[in-house]
């Protein structure tokens, strides 16, 4: 199944891509399928941008300025930060039982961040201008400036860490330092992304340092959900095919407990956020009432978070493969709704527009905005299929995971 030798030069990586496209295996079909979706959505987005321009977005100066493309970016960027945090359980904090998912986490952290950046770049009016305006402007007052700086550092560190892992260097002092720095960068980046919203005193639905903490902690949850889904995907949703160390982790309650704790923390944060939003009389908080009436919000809370929380708490079903998968899928969906609700919700109260815009804003994503979301997902899936096939993502410092291992490392 797996390549014993992983490609390390650019030429080898490209050759592996061609080989994968020709491969009749499940991974090959995933790769081809998601590449086709990626190509189609990219073509549609480009056509819309050239033929209609940014008027094809359903955003407007009177209301929602940042639409679904931004919430998609936030979803991917925070998932990436969360994956780095999960990888750090093993690589920074030394919980060795989490080693079997560390490399996959780092790889997914890279590709989700790239997918997020791609969606963001296609939403911007003049993305290439950033290359000279940001360095020459050095606007250190802007949270968006620091978000860019920290995510750029985060991406570079993730790539270095992955490259070191490819070379089998998991435990050298250099590798540890890169891992530590990457963890700090992911925290700073997701926290700063929170401040992009949290600094806005004129938009009280976002305002406050809470937004930063909220993003950091909920990032960890989407990262956890993403790694569960993708780890099972790598083995055709069959735990029996997993290498021993990974199987031990998947069927122990270690990860389930972490997952349940993260869902619980997220639920508390959402409830407290809505409590203050619905209770307080401050002008500008009216959007919380509207969000509460939105069926999507209730899908997010009850189906996407409360249900998985109880599934993961139950000692019996928590260890069950199907339960873990269903819970992870539900949580991933809930987190996507959550980012959408956060970004769009914060803009529902119009700025000073009087009777020209005299109620909460109505917003529905346009075709190009949906296409950008599809593009991001397809890009992540294509890169994921490639990564699973070409790199040995389940390997651990103790040896190649694909090789049958006699001694199963005891969890803990």
């Amino acid at each position: 199944m797996r390549n014993k030798t992983e490609p390390q030069t650019l030429g080898e990586l490209l050759a592996a891509s061609v080989a994968l496209a020709k491969d009749p295996s499940a991974a090959g079909r995933w790769f081809l399928g998601s590449m086709a979706v990626l190509a189609a959505s990219f073509a549609f987005v480009l056509y819309q941008l050239v033929a209609v321009g940014h008027a094809s977005f359903n955003t407007s100066s009177d209301g929602v300025n940042w639409g679904m493309a931004i919430s998609t970016y936030v979803f991917f960027a925070l998932t990436s930060s969360g994956l780095t945090m999960i990888a750090s359980l093993a690589t920074v904090f030394g919980f060795k039982q989490f080693y079997p998912i560390a490399k996959r986490c780092i790889f997914l952290g890279i590709i989700t961040l790239v997918a997020g950046f791609s969606v963001l770049a296609l939403e911007l009016g003049h993305p290439f201008r950033m290359l000279w305006t940001i360095p020459t402007g050095m606007q250190v007052m802007s949270p968006m400036f620091w978000m860019g700086v920290f995510y750029a550092i985060d991406l570079v560190l993730l790539i270095i860490k992955f490259w070191l892992m490819l070379k089998g260097d998991w435990d050298s002092p250099l590798s540890h330092q890169v891992g530590n720095a990457g963890f700090v960068a992911a925290i700073l980046a997701s926290g700063m992304l929170g401040l992009v919203f949290g600094s806005m005193a004129m938009r009280p639905m976002w305002y406050g340092s809470f937004a930063s903490i909220y993003f950091i902690l909920t990032a960890a949850l989407s990262g956890a959900a993403a790694i569960i889904v993708t780890t099972y995907m790598a083995y055709d949703f069959d735990r029996k095919q997993m290498p021993a160390e990974l199987k031990t982790l998947a069927s122990s309650n270690q990860f389930t407990k972490v997952f349940a704790a993260l869902i619980g923390i997220t639920l508390v944060m959402i409830v407290t956020r809505f409590w203050t939003g619905l209770w307080s009389n401050m002008d500008g908080l009216e959007g919380f009432n509207m969000l509460l009436r939105d069926p999507l919000f209730h899908v997010e809370i009850w189906v996407g978070l409360v249900l998985p929380f109880f599934m993961m708490l139950s000692p019996n079903s928590g260890l069950n493969k199907t339960s873990q998968l269903v819970a992870a899928f539900l949580v991933l969906g809930a987190m996507f709704i959550n980012r959408y609700e956060f970004v769009i919700g914060g803009q529902l109260v119009p700025m000073f527009k009087g009777n020209w815009t005299n109620s909460l804003i109505a917003y529905t994503p346009s075709a190009i905005e949906w296409a950008l979301t599809v593009l991001g997902v397809a890009m992540a899936l294509a890169c994921y299929a490639y990564g699973e096939k070409v790199f040995d993502l389940s390997s651990t410092p103790s040896g190649k995971a694909a090789e049958p291992s006699g001694a199963v490392r005891a969890a803990g």
């Binding site: 008027a55 606007q139 803009q347 009087g354 005299n358």
Partner: protein, 252 residues
Amino acid sequence: MAKWGMVIDLEKCTGCQACTTACSMENSRLPGEHWQDVIFYNEGEHPSAQMKWFPRPCMHCENPSCVAVCPTRATYKAEDGQVLVDWERCIGCKYCMIACPYGVRFYTEEKPAYGGPDAKRVFAADDGHSWSPPWKGPAEDWKHGVGVQPSDVVSKCTFCYHRVAKAPKGTADLDPQNPALREFTPACVVTCPPGARMFGDLSNPNSEIAKAIGNKNGVRLLDQLGNKPQVYYLTGEGGAVPANRSLPPKKA
């Protein structure tokens, strides 16, 4: 160095929107993209409801949150106090629109603000401008956000930078009644039929606007947000400055 500011006397304002129209003509605005707008809103409920109006240009704040958030320094505070957008630096991220408490910024590439027809297509441009209106003004200055804008940038009221910047140095008041100063005065001030608008140097204690703010209790819109607008309103007996965004009250 001047600190240009505006005073709007709400006792005199009749809500006629001549300012909105003059601004649109002067600055080649798209239909519906009103850099200067007169906001109508309801105060109270039946049977004591009132229909009110409120003229609202860009506030050209002393502490502009839009300038602080711009990641590229495309939007900036000019020497004489105007908040401007450099259309050659703007990346179209719209963060300034998110950060503006007054809703006075516009993204230039959107669906028509009114149902249609799309003026950008009817008067299509082929030279880098987002459109080619039939009534273009002679001034064009992308570094200061003046004129017909390019696509995919943010635009806003410039306090008629192209006029005001040419005023003689040290001028305390740009009074449209003075023929020598009329061409340097912002279009909305020149055109206001009841003379409800005054424009001058806030940093000069002898300017008419500084005196009016002091003598008649000039107040600022949504002052609690700390942006410190350079546009002041005189309320007198006739008008009021809304303290909030004028949405209907929360239902318990």
